[in-house]
Symmetry: D2
Subunit: 144 residues, 4 copies
Amino acid sequence: MNDTAPVTPGHRRFESEMQVRPDDLDMNAHVHASRYFDYVLAARYDQMERCYGMGMEAFLARGLGWFTRTSHVEYKRPLKLGERFVVRTWIEKFHKDGVRVEFEIRKHDSAKLAAAGWADFTLVNLANGRATPLPPEIVAKYAV
Amino acid sequence: MNDTAPVTPGHRRFESEMQVRPDDLDMNAHVHASRYFDYVLAARYDQMERCYGMGMEAFLARGLGWFTRTSHVEYKRPLKLGERFVVRTWIEKFHKDGVRVEFEIRKHDSAKLAAAGWADFTLVNLANGRATPLPPEIVAKYAV
Amino acid sequence: MNDTAPVTPGHRRFESEMQVRPDDLDMNAHVHASRYFDYVLAARYDQMERCYGMGMEAFLARGLGWFTRTSHVEYKRPLKLGERFVVRTWIEKFHKDGVRVEFEIRKHDSAKLAAAGWADFTLVNLANGRATPLPPEIVAKYAV
Amino acid sequence: MNDTAPVTPGHRRFESEMQVRPDDLDMNAHVHASRYFDYVLAARYDQMERCYGMGMEAFLARGLGWFTRTSHVEYKRPLKLGERFVVRTWIEKFHKDGVRVEFEIRKHDSAKLAAAGWADFTLVNLANGRATPLPPEIVAKYAV
């Protein structure tokens, strides 16, 4: 049985621009390792609404939520106090009950890579906490 | 009209011991200013259950929650990586629809003061987000 | 002995626009109480550089830093997922060795007040951790 | 050229017990995805000092620091408000200039797995930010 649904995601890449906050820094004055994935999650929330046309609120209104199943982050160059950066994300593939999202975080000024990686997100029925297959109309919106 | 309910809180002081995590530090390798209030909130959650005998889950089960109305923190000595500390809190007075909590955060080893202050918390009906008077049975549990 | 230096701050108000990140939310889906002060600190870093013309790096280069001595936050209306907001800050008065900053956080769309308050910051000599009087050239830059 | 140094780590597993803080929760009242890796970093700091006998301060005193190169987290069961949990970590292998650490986070009461994964950490010369080979005396302490 194949875990991957027979859809061809369009791999369209979307971008969100953000800025480092002081509370993101660690004692080396670099962004703390775990915050890069926070930036990815913030970019996804932004892009779900703005780019795919179906934001988190629309999922919640249907009793659905997205849980993170796996995160994988490779750290390339540290972001520092006040730096502007761009988070680019795209759907690499659809699973039966979720998506594989890939991402890049690049410095705004130099376009140099600060971090890159991927995450698997599972669609969950919030009433019982169980994974649920992606409804076709959601796949349609997200397969761009 | 008096905002303070005619109860005499017992002012009993309760303590929770905690330890600084690396993600709590700022670029000066001190605990970031906003995290001291997080420690107070963590201590209150712990003490609500363990010391007053009515934890946050019991409030949620009645459709009630606690919202922070005011926080006031005075920073005395920085906490550093891995330091153990004790958060002592007590109810200073009851408002009609909430409590004034005072707190001290002391270093575990020296008992020196790291931070002190107070916060007002309001009891809220989660269904409509409105403040609600403290039910007598809750006052009874908390007026120790 | 007067703790307040004989300067008349211009009380000029500066603004930084920001957006709520998912990691700022609490279990009520509102911004967690301690994060409002993080927003204020982020706004100050931005405005120190952009509006006063002397950013944190310039202080660090002189061996100086700013430590928070007191924070006071009044919570008015919760900020929610993805909301845009504006942090307005200004210097209310100069202390001998620091500043009193006041702030307002308003929702971007409605201009309604989400939080307001003030904080005292002390200028510190990073070599010994001691408070240090504000040099006149710093007062000149900040008394706008 | 082989990136893996010819040492056989002892794979000894060390444990740190911790508790969820309210500021760790997300809007689903589960621990926010990025915080699990914060728990791992906190456990490593604790165990470096307490279990290996060479804490972060000892590295800093030599002008050395540890940077995260990769983090990989698989999320199994959510941790909730106030839950106690145990973070078990061990060195899976030595790289020439760092270590691969594996980890498990288990609920304290049930021993059920909340999260598991691994991270690569690189030893860095803080003066120039460059990776540096592990000195033999550090390998000796950490190859237990």
